[in-house]
């Protein structure tokens, strides 16, 4: 563990990784809390995975994959949102199809790209150790955008996630806010892809908020606690993975998952006792 702290104090890439984890935790604490209380983890998973299509196309065209991810995340957020609003009967089937279809497109484009395909792994599992100062700037900007939108429309987001029917009767354009919310999920997904990769995004998006929901009884506190837990999981995962030279993404997710399960079990005992 000592060498981890040495690395943090001396190596720029470790400092970037820590800061990246903190910035990502803000987005996943705030947006993840809505995802958990609104119970749309599957929809968010669909957005996260289908993003590979955009990354693959960008990679094929020689553009930075993250640009493709951003475009694809926003496009799929709107498509999936439309599906969940208009095709409620087949919602899960359609999400599943788009989820797998998006990934298939990505893999095909990546396979047709000449050259060395090492990047595929970092799309899928992320690499927090490769985060550059430019990346940090982008993550921070997306954080600010997300926080700004959540502050401006706090009441509407709360109303739509709590009681859609009542919100509609109070004159709130429920569908528009639902789609706006899904675009926030898309932005968060793009941030998190750089930390843990797109396969593991959904865990980091939902686990801190899910743990947090076991302890607090207000959405604001839930977001705050989830953000702190996100920082704990990313930093903890980084520290644990450093010495044995494990990939940090999966380590972070295992830390989060273990924490969640232990917390769940303790809570059950607590309530029974």
């Amino acid at each position: 563990m000592g060498s981890f702290f040495d690395a943090v104090s001396s190596q720029a890439f470790m400092q970037n990784a820590i800061i990246g984890g903190i910035l990502a935790s803000v987005a996943c604490g705030v947006v993840g809390s809505y995802v958990v209380v609104k119970r749309i983890g599957y929809l968010a998973g669909g957005i996260a995975h289908s993003v590979l299509g955009g990354m693959g196309i960008a990679y094929y065209l020689g553009r930075p994959p993250i640009e493709g991810a951003l475009v694809a995340a926003l496009v799929f957020a709107v498509i999936l949102g439309w599906v969940s609003l208009r095709m409620q009967q087949q919602e899960d089937t359609v999400i599943g199809a788009l989820w797998a279809g998006g990934m298939a497109v990505g893999i095909l484009f990546i396979s047709q790209t000449p050259g060395y395909n090492v990047d595929l792994m970092s799309f899928l599992f992320g690499n927090i150790l490769m985060i550059s100062s430019d990346d940090l700037f982008w993550i921070a900007s997306l954080d600010i955008l997300i926080l700004l939108i959540v502050f401006l429309f706090y009441k509407q987001f709360l109303a739509v996630s709590f009681d859609e029917e009542f919100a509609r009767l109070r004159g709130i354009p429920v569908e528009r806010f639902y789609l706006l919310f899904l675009t926030l999920v898309a932005l968060t997904v793009v941030i998190l892809i750089q930390i843990v990769g797109l396969i593991l995004v959904i865990a980091l998006l939902t686990l801190p908020a899910a743990v947090s929901s076991q302890y607090v009884r207000s959405l604001n506190l839930m977001m705050l606690l989830a953000t702190f837990l996100g920082i704990l999981f990313t930093t903890g995962g980084l520290a644990l993975s450093y010495q044995p030279d494990l990939p940090p993404g999966p380590t972070i997710i295992l830390v989060a998952g273990t924490f969640y399960l232990v917390s769940l079990i303790l809570n059950r005992f607590w309530k029974r006792a």
């Binding site: 209380v37 119970r39 502050f151 401006l152 429309f153 706090y154 009441k155 509407q156 709360l158 109303a159 996630s161 709590f162 009681d163 859609e164 029917e165 009542f166 919100a167 509609r168 009767l169 109070r170 004159g171 709130i172 929901s213 607090v216 009884r217 207000s218 959405l219 506190l221 839930m222």
Partner: protein, 248 residues
């Protein structure tokens, strides 16, 4: 007379058979209307039309002199079932504040005026001491009061309550209707219920719905036989429709 809801020759279907047919009613300011009818008779559909959620196939609906979608913000609505999750992380005050939507600024947080309105509404239904409690920890009767307070915070001219006492015992039911009676001094109230015998002492008129609508003033009915008469009358309306179906 000052009518707050005016419906003329209204017809509605969800694309199939007629749900509502030839509905006509005038509801006066400060009236207390009980709405009865069997399940699937079109009560909730009619309420949704009054609140502008559904558009009728034919006929006119005016609420406070305007088309329903323009006046829906002046209506306080209490739903029949709680459509939200009881474990949602929200307390009583925050829930009641939701009623301010449409009346408050569209950006930012709730302001002082909203909080005052919520406080008054919670006071009116006597739940001010529960304001910081999580909604998941409330009893059925307390939750009904929270939902009534939420409907009240928009300072409505009309209140629509869909079976407000469906899941509470007789004592709580009486408390809630006593409270509604007081609110009725300022607000027009429409309440959907199955318990016609009980509420006849509170309401001015009863609207019997079963695809069509027939209205009866409670003053035409004498105290002791009210329960029987309403019971048999609903029955009669029901048979009337059965006959029509057979003819058609």
């Amino acid at each position: 007379m000052d009518s707050v809801i005016k419906i003329r020759d209204l017809h509605f279907s969800y694309g199939g058979p007629k749900i509502l047919e030839n509905i006509e009613i005038d509801i006066q300011r400060n009236e207390f209307i009980g709405m009865v009818g069997p399940n699937g008779s079109g009560k909730t559909t009619l309420l949704k039309i009054i609140m502008g959620v559904l558009t009728p196939d034919a006929g006119t609906v005016e609420v406070l002199g305007k088309p329903p979608f323009q006046s829906v913000k002046e209506i306080g609505y209490m739903p029949q079932l709680t459509p939200f999750l009881r474990d949602f992380p929200i307390n009583v005050e925050e829930t009641v504040l939701m009623g301010r939507l449409g009346k408050t600024s569209s950006i930012g947080f709730f302001n002082k005026a909203d909080k005052r309105a919520a406080e008054k509404a919670m006071d009116d239904v006597e739940i001010l001491d529960l304001r910081k409690r999580a909604i998941g920890s409330l009893s059925g009767g307390q939750l009904q009061r929270v939902l009534i307070a939420r409907a009240l915070t928009c300072e409505p001219e009309i209140m629509i309550l869909d079976e407000p006492t469906a899941n509470v015992d007789m004592k709580v039911e009486k408390d809630i209707f006593d409270m509604l009676k007081q609110l009725n001094e300022k607000i027009t109230i429409i309440v959907v219920t199955h318990d016609i015998g009980f509420i006849s002492q509170y309401i001015h008129r009863v609207a019997c719905i079963n695809r069509t609508l027939i209205c009866h003033p409670t003053s035409e009915l004498t105290g002791e036989t009210i329960e029987n008469m309403y019971g048999s009358h609903v029955h009669m309306v029901h048979h009337h429709h059965e006959d029509e179906k057979n003819h058609g």
